[in-house]
Symmetry: C2
Subunit: 357 residues, 2 copies
């Protein structure tokens, strides 16, 4: 049976990435050796790293003055690296969910942290709009897409202090004006690669202003100076990332994938909004994520939750159980998810309605 | 042409690991999905993590009271995590090479660091023996195998303060008495897995004694509490590590692989010592590494260095160029390297001698 992969992350990757990575693990670039067992200093792997960084910059139209890094340790390590490198005494965070809160918590180890607004009181089912960013904060941190709750900030803010964004789950899903950000980061395991690397886009002029001692591996400058090769980089995820970037280029780049993402999300949100058995969890439609779509059983149908999950699972839907803090269902609709999978899910929802009404 | 992989790291892995990882990237445990695109919380991946940790403990005969972690960020991140978690004000390091020095340098950010001895004056071609470990240091740090220089500490020290060892390049190569160590760590990309994870074996009672704030991701306790799943772990390297551990078990475990390692190394060292064109770089034979074997052209034959490198490369030897700080040649002879590869290299050395004498 055909599986439809709606996992929130690690999550669906293009077949192009999967096939090329499997091939390289058997024989990397005709070396007769596995991708897993060649030196990261070999000319073959250095070429992979260089091409991945360049294509990453090209696809996102990253302006001069920024550097792209691929580092181990995941986005969670970035939660600490950001204040380590950029927070003198005060920072500001927008609390839009569990990951935003974890980022905020780490910064508290480095000084005063202002939570400018929070939607915690409503299980983060909207993005706070009215708040004031302290002008004397060293930076303002946002989480653009909230994987668990299905909310997303769809625009690039124009603010007066350095803007830092965790884009773990929406990088490469829509056009971004990179120049609005001082630093963008994320785990790669959604729209890019298997788990094991974080990407960082950093404007170089914001660095080098701290007095504190920064451990070498936590210092962005270390990795800029060595082109992400200060220590042995995670070779398999970086190779896989390059494949996904090539696939994305072949799809027509970010403008093209964005159109497909809008179309896919609209198709599923339409079903959620019109099928009487279900309802979306995100109140304000402009806050709805294009990448993680959350819904629950509508009033009067709560008893069918488990039955629908089993029904859909038996038809090949994988990973649609909602996060425990929200309940219900979540379909992650990352770049690599074909519309066919959305159609299969919507067909499940329609069929289930016919069975029950 | 058959390639013989002597890379220092990332380096040769068993064909069993390579084939099973490539297969899982196409279809993981019959899920119909790639290993790269399944949730780390799926029952299939949780089983991989659990089995890898258990087999790691079983093969090394790790006693009660220790925990095994698999973390992103490489051994270089451990250089900072160790003092962060374990150094109150003073630590002691044995300087046996570039990696030992990097570890030592990181500790300096946390207090007083005593370098008890160094072989830097002789390009680290021996392991210092006579030194005094300060009794009031919080721990003593050693690098058991020095990949660049081909030296190795072959015994488990019995000392009065906590002993910490970087075993990046000799873990699983010989029996170890784990009880002699407070913490053992290393990058996985030699005897275990592709790059992208570090392993840590930590005696739990040494933790929790610091007053300083430790960032969440740098706190060993975080990862112990969550079984290395606090954040999304690097799934591909962990899956590959499990394959290598199974392969090692099937070889007869560490005692059996140790015998093979002794036999392989003796065969190559014998050629280095008896072939008049070459000489070993490590003075004291008891300091010679079983994992990284270094040699140069003997006096009078220096002019042939480049020619021998080309000669051997053309016969399928990969990665035998010595590190620039030592020169000459280095053959890394990790667990997965078959004796056949050593025999092929020795045949090259003998044939080259016949051609030139």
């Amino acid at each position: 049976m055909k599986k439809h992969n709606f996992y929130a992350g690690p999550s669906i990757l293009p077949q192009y990435t999967i096939k090329n990575t499997a091939d390289a693990i058997l024989n990397f670039e005709g070396t007769g050796l596995s991708l897993m067992e060649v030196s990261h200093r070999s000319k073959e792997f250095v070429a992979v790293m260089d091409e991945a960084q360049q294509l990453f910059k090209d696809l996102l139209k990253i302006p001069e003055g920024y550097e792209v890094l691929f580092l181990g340790g995941g986005a969670s390590t970035q939660f600490a690296m950001i204040p380590y490198n950029l927070m003198k005494s005060k920072s500001a965070y927008l609390n839009t969910g569990a990951w935003a809160k974890k980022a905020l918590k780490e910064a508290k180890g480095f000084g005063e942290v202002v939570e400018v607004a929070s939607s915690a009181e409503a299980i983060f089912n909207y993005i706070p709009k009215d708040y004031k960013i302290p002008a004397d904060a060293d930076y303002f941190h946002i989480t653009t897409n909230n994987t668990i709750y299905g909310t997303e900030i769809h625009h690039d803010m124009d603010i007066d202090i350095p803007l830092i964004a965790d884009m773990s789950s929406d990088i490469f899903s829509r056009p971004i004006d990179i120049s609005k950000y001082a630093l963008i980061y994320g785990g790669a395991q959604k729209n890019l690669a298997p788990s094991g690397i974080a990407f960082i886009i950093v404007r170089k002029d914001i660095l080098g202003k701290m007095d504190r001692h920064i451990p070498t591996m936590l210092d962005y400058q270390t990795h800029i100076d060595k082109g992400s090769m200060f220590n042995t980089p995670p070779v398999v995820p970086i190779f896989a990332a390059l494949q996904t970037l090539k696939w994305l280029r072949d799809q027509g780049g970010i403008d093209a994938i964005y159109k497909m993402n809008v179309d896919k999300a609209a198709y599923l949100y339409n079903e959620i909004d019109t099928n009487p058995m279900f309802k979306g969890t995100v109140v304000d439609k402009e806050d709805r994520s294009l990448m993680n779509i959350c819904w629950v059983m509508a009033e009067g149908y709560e008893e069918y939750e488990k039955e629908f999950l089993d029904f859909a699972t038996n038809k090949g839907m994988v990973g649609i159980k909602g996060h425990r803090s929200v309940g219900g269902f979540r379909a992650s609709t990352y770049n690599a998810l074909p519309k066919e999978s959305i159609e299969a899910l919507v067909a499940c929802m329609q069929e289930f309605k016919s069975l029950k009404s």
